[in-house]
């Protein structure tokens, strides 16, 4: 657990990594949840955060999104310190968040759920009146459901809707919290393919929390967490079975 000192060269938005977190500590009351976490998501790369249940992965993502605020440490988005920004402002900067449990708005139709994703455009773009075709190419299942209530969809469909909704805001960073949790295998492959397709066509960065190994291996880089701290990191090509056994297996 070493502290990475903020590198001045990295603070120029043109060359800065998408997200840079340094020395982050988070507490729920007096229990120390995140211990001195430092991690980086470079531009255009997919980074995966792995670890067993309860080690603080979701808490980490919530800190990045601004739902939770760290006690100490710094979160930089494109070189800008965003610690004091509320979630809606971070979303408008370009962080697209797909939370655990999906949180589709239940009494809005699928179309409205998608259109409301454009709120994240802020001043970066003009919202469209209709859902663009790219969304249906990624998630064909949504096209037939446009007028259904979001809350009436199945879990897998809601997950696809939640990712599509985040994409509608044209994020620079897509934050995915266990997108395959509790979803049938065939749809897991659909979701995986869609995320890969998104990365390929748009060149955005992805920060993924995942336990499904096949999906984990799609990432470029991994960080492994244990008891609130980063305990290992490296390119996923070096993610050996020993490491997986140590940090992921139950």
């Amino acid at each position: 657990m070493t502290t990475t000192l903020p590198n001045p060269a990295l603070q120029d938005p043109a060359t800065a990594p998408m997200v840079e977190i340094s020395g982050l500590n988070f507490y729920y009351g007096e229990s120390h949840i995140l211990r001195h976490v430092s991690m980086t998501v470079p531009k255009g790369q997919m980074v995966c955060l792995i670890g067993r249940n309860g080690v603080g992965k979701t808490t980490m993502l919530k800190n990045i999104m601004g739902v939770l605020r760290p006690r100490t440490g710094e979160i930089r988005f494109e070189g800008q310190v965003v610690n004091s920004f509320p979630p809606d402002r971070r979303a408008r900067l370009g962080i697209g968040y797909v939370p655990q449990g999906r949180e589709v708005i239940p009494r809005l139709t699928v179309r409205e759920n998608l259109l409301i994703g454009q709120e994240a455009l802020g001043s970066r773009g003009k919202p469209k009146k209709e859902v663009p075709d790219e969304i249906y190419e990624l998630f064909p299942v949504l096209k037939d459901m446009l007028d259904r209530m979001g809350g009436d969809l199945s879990g897998g469909q809601q997950q696809q809707l939640a990712i599509a909704r985040a994409i509608m805001g044209q994020p620079k960073l897509l934050v995915l919290d266990e997108p395959t949790e509790g979803i049938q295998p065939s749809i897991i492959l659909d979701i995986e393919a869609a995320v890969k397709q998104i990365v390929k066509t748009t060149g955005i960065s992805v920060l993924l929390v995942e336990q499904h190994l096949h999906f984990v291996r799609q990432a470029d880089y991994y960080y492994a967490m244990q008891r609130g701290g980063i305990v290992a990191n490296g390119p996923t090509s070096e993610l050996t079975n020993d490491i997986i056994q140590e940090f992921l297996a139950v």
Binding site: M65, V67, A91, P106, R107, L108, I116, E119, G151
Partner: protein, 390 residues
């Protein structure tokens, strides 16, 4: 017989329309946002007093003004109540989201303050309030700017507050004791005041020999329909409406999607309050206006929203009409007249005759509502589907 039926239906609908226009703002504030705002009736009262003020100005202008003042009073009542609601949301309610009990107590306190404010507001009081606000707010702004406020705020805050209050009170007292009696008199006082509808709203359309549709009632029905259409359009057809529906269902996730939730909350509350103002305007056509006006309507409004099913606008519409019609049928004794006057029905006739007064009809309607809510606790139109069970 037919005339009686149409007349009964019209009267029922017109009672329902008043209920609905009163409940419409609450359907947004309570139904959508889940805020139990007991000061809603007082927001209505402010709409009513705004109408009264506009009417007086129109009277003093003379000419055609007293005939058309309603068209100025309507938007003004909306704006005054909406601004007051906005102030209430920003200063009190936004700190209490998700805490119904505290909201209930706080807004009840606010309602008492507003009632007393209307009773006793006068020029000396306004002068005192303005002086206090100026001293306290501008003074604090200057202090935070030019001194090390964080260090001195501990003792400076209470001293500063006390000083501002004292100066404002002294000035107010001096004005009170030295001004002419015309000047220091309360603006409205505790007594009811009267709003005279323009002449074209008095009287009514006569149909047949026995039927009479008062213009004021027809005007309220039309106004209610217009408000409904406008609210539906706003909620379902505009970007802000979509934001409101999203935030009211899932505030946390909506923020993560980039929606400025605080602004949406403030706007939603202001909209509901503004509709209360319009309701206040509408009831001035029916009777006099007093400080306790809100209390007479708030219970009915909550009842309509609860019976209709919280969160459902269409439920409020149906509930208002049904309650309106039942209230009229019971209150006017129509049911007793319909029943054949045989010995067999005599106990039923006596029973309904007993309830055939306005206040007893209310007792009956309340009893029916209590029974109804035992059977359907979620109201007429509870939300359905997978999203509810999850």
């Amino acid at each position: 017989m037919l005339e009686g039926l149409i007349g009964g239906l019209f009267n029922g609908i017109s009672i329902g329309a008043v209920l609905l226009i009163v409940a419409l703002g609450l359907a947004i504030v309570f139904g959508l946002m889940g805020v139990i705002n007991l000061a809603h009736g007082e927001l209505m009262m402010f709409g009513a007093y705004t109408t009264f003020v506009v009417q007086n100005v129109a009277k003093s202008m003379g000419g055609i003004a007293p005939e058309i003042y309603v068209f100025a009073a309507l938007p003004l009542a909306f704006v005054v109540s909406a601004l007051l609601g906005l102030l209430l949301e920003r200063t009190v309610i936004r700190y209490l989201y998700g805490r119904p009990l505290e909201t209930l107590l706080a807004t009840w306190g606010v309602s008492l303050i507003l009632i007393q404010l209307i009773r006793s507001i006068s020029w000396p009081m306004v002068i005192g309030l303005v002086i206090f606000a100026t001293l306290f707010l501008i003074g604090r702004w200057a202090l935070t700017r030019y001194t090390d406020w964080d260090r001195i705020s501990q003792w400076a805050n209470p001293i500063f507050l006390g000083l501002s209050v004292a100066i404002a009170a002294v000035v107010s007292f001096l004005v009170q004791s030295s001004g002419s009696s015309q000047f220091v008199r309360p603006w409205f006082g505790a007594q009811n005041v009267d709003v005279t509808p323009p002449s074209w709203l008095r009287g009514g359309v006569a149909i047949g020999s026995a039927l009479q549709f008062p213009y004021a009632r027809l005007f309220i029905i039309v106004l209610t329909i217009l408000c409904l259409v406008a609210v539906y359009w706003f909620l379902n057809g505009t970007a802000w409406g979509l934001r409101i529906r999203s935030v009211t269902q899932n505030r946390g996730m909506s923020a993560c999607l980039g929606i400025p939730t605080e602004r949406v909350d403030a706007l939603t509350f202001a909209l509901g309050s503004g509709l209360a103002g319009i309701a206040g305007f509408a009831v001035t056509l029916l009777g006099s206006v007093g400080p306790n006006l809100g209390g007479n309507y708030i219970v009915d409004a909550f009842m309509v929203v609860v019976v209709g099913g919280v969160g459902k606008l269409v439920g409020s519409i149906v509930a208002a009409l049904v309650i309106g019609i039942v209230t009229y049928l019971v209150g006017s004794g129509t049911i007793a007249l319909i029943l054949p006057p045989t010995a067999f029905f005599q106990p039923a006739i006596d029973f309904f005759n007993f309830f055939a007064t306005t206040s007893m009809a209310k007792v009956m309607v309340f009893a029916l509502i209590i029974a109804f809510l035992q059977v359907r606790p979620a109201g007429l139109f509870p939300p359905k589907g997978r999203s509810v069970e999850l």
